[in-house]
Symmetry: C2
Subunit: 388 residues, 2 copies
């Protein structure tokens, strides 16, 4: 029998390609989503640059192309605990992949309403998932999408390890070595919610011995994966707006429509990156390499390279002759930072890294180029400020 997996948030930017990948690999996939990402677009008067289909059309096309059935359940896990638990008890999944969180830092910083939504939604969903796994009594492997943003930017040029840090404490005349969760240093309310998630995982793993993998992902770029390219009805979202557009995709789209590449502040900020196809690869690898019973939370850094924003803009400008424009940084952050990231855990289990140099920038440009007439230029610049 095929392994059963729930993909929470499986209609979103990372969730959708992952659900298709897992289905393609033979998992029996159930997507659970409250479709909040599409609804937030409505409130922001925005749309994906790519014309994404309703979830039912996506799934019927997938079935037609591959013969594989993905079930869809419209459930708000933050609010419908009993319905969610019932589904777990009925389907008895082997694993749950959890993408069901509000994932934009700028959106989380817009105002107290979006801050509160982000905290209440993200924490309730994560905690409800944990409580439901305990309630079910089943041995379910939980794979959660975290963020590199839980770490801040490291200390003294030391490469950020994967979740855990060895430290020496000297106090009261005693010197002791110990291992701790890497100290949290989030840069937005959104990132803060992922640091809270990490503590919930720590506790449920300690008390209830839940098997949990937490993936601290870099900024995703790219649009399509092996599966979403199979038909236009399967196309993934492409966000270019100031709230949900991730930096590299925003640059690519700006280049396509002849808009200057807008760098927030100096551009000296270093970020970690990963291509969307590697996101799907990583989830698949995480499912194949679960922690054993009694093992602590398994933490992987899910990023393949780091770049400063100015470097990125330079690369794209070279490709496209786009102009580069610095605008005031709406974020509260250092003007410049040195970010190094360990990612041996995924390399050791066989991740084949897709890098910017692999020519995919051009591919993404083609997507941006193809749909550029759908762009609303008034949505490109940032509107959220970190501080009043």
């Amino acid at each position: 029998m095929n392994k059963k997996v729930f993909v929470l948030g499986g209609d979103g930017f990372c969730g959708w390609p992952t659900a298709l990948r897992l289905s393609n690999e033979g998992y029996d996939v159930t997507i659970i989503d409250n479709l909040s990402r599409r609804k937030i677009d409505i409130d922001l008067y925005c749309e994906s640059l790519t014309p994404i289909k309703p979830i039912d059309k996506r799934l019927s096309r997938w079935k037609e192309l591959t013969g594989k059935v993905i079930d869809f359940q419209l459930i708000d896990i933050a609010l419908e605990y009993d319905v969610f638990l019932e589904l777990i008890n009925e389907k008895r999944p082997d694993a749950i992949v959890h993408f069901a969180e509000q994932r934009s830092a700028p959106y989380s910083m817009k105002n107290s309403k979006t801050k509160r939504y982000t905290v209440n939604n993200n924490i309730s969903v994560t905690h409800n998932v944990l409580a439901a796994i305990v309630d079910s009594g089943l041995d379910i492997h939980l794979v959660h999408l975290g963020t590199m943003g839980v770490y801040g930017y490291g200390t003294a040029g030391i490469s950020i390890p994967e979740g855990y840090l060895n430290v020496t404490i000297k106090k009261d005349g005693i010197e002791a070595d110990t291992e701790i969760l890497y100290p949290a240093n989030p840069g937005s309310i959104y990132h803060t919610t992922k640091t809270l998630d990490a503590l919930l995982f720590f506790y449920y793993n300690k008390n209830d011995k839940l098997r949990i993998t937490d993936l601290h992902q870099g900024i995703v770029w790219g649009t399509n994966t092996t599966e979403t390219k199979m038909h236009e009805d399967l196309v993934n979202r492409f966000d270019y707006d100031g709230d949900y557009g991730t930096v590299l995709n925003r640059f690519l789209m700006q280049a396509a429509i002849g808009h200057p590449l807008t760098i927030y502040g100096t551009g000296g900020q270093t970020r970690a990156f990963i291509h969307i196809n590697n996101t799907a690869d990583c989830i698949s690898l995480a499912l194949q390499n679960p922690p054993s019973n009694g093992e602590r939370v398994k933490i992987f850094n899910q990023a393949t390279e780091t770049h400063t924003l100015i470097e990125l803009a330079g690369k794209i400008s070279k490709l496209t002759n786009a102009e580069i424009k610095h605008i005031d940084n709406p974020r509260v952050e250092d003007a410049k930072n040195n970010l190094k990231v360990d990612n041996d855990n995924f390399l050791n289990v066989g991740l084949n890294c897709i890098k910017l140099q692999d020519g995919l920038l051009e591919e993404v440009m083609e997507v941006a180029e193809k749909y550029k007439d759908r762009a609303d230029q008034s949505k490109i610049l940032p509107t959220s400020k970190w501080r009043k």
Copy 2:
């Protein structure tokens, strides 16, 4: 003009005596409470051993005795953000003291419903308070009641510092000293919520420069303070049940009714303690010693002594000839631990510690003795288990 202070959760076990103390000291006090503690008693078929009066009777008696007016607002801060924010904008408090959280570890571990209530309520209240302070634009000092339970039991016999820990990182051929928030190691869902609170404080302090004091309190014992002793209508709650009764008060009440002193497990667990009168002292001292603008979150350990449970039971048995009985430990915790706690911050600002040896055990025994006929013996033993 008197300084204005909001006391969130000001009808509860720590909140009520603190509200009276601050009113007595000349603060203009507003209590905000959803009265959830009284409502949970209804659900648990329990009552305070002491006959506590409704909040309106408490406050009218206080006014009659002292001429001082404490305002009361029935607001659920987790659910009524706009009402709470409006009250802040109207009254413009100088400080907010935040006790408005579900505070029982056993209650938080009863089942998924109480776990979820504890997480959702505590995190929403804390985050709503933070967001509302930012929304108000006012410079309000937030004083929060945390718990020693955020720390776990320390490392290698090193005394637990007040919130921050100096560590040395050696990695990648680099050696660097840095200061971190003391690594969280909570022992229940309730304690976990306080570790999440700490990260929310860290972030709002970093981003919005909020002035925040977080008080990591030990287990409170005792019943009355200088103020609650002024009249029987002002009496504080005394919880003796397996969920809300704190260990020392539970022992004293068991002794009073001739019930064996029930120790969970070996009794080798060390805990930190503080008398309720010192709780009120500490909040007053924290308000008098706020962090300055731009200062990081100020963290105090609010505990005056540590004891193992078996030591405590021994003391009370000696006083009363009560029998000691070991029962299965419902908690997931080490059978024995070595807990040392720094508390210089409060000593340095003048806290006059009330210790068990100061004869107050007898005073609390008198309270237990006086009201023992109100006790429901079926509520004494623990019913919550940490693991199924």
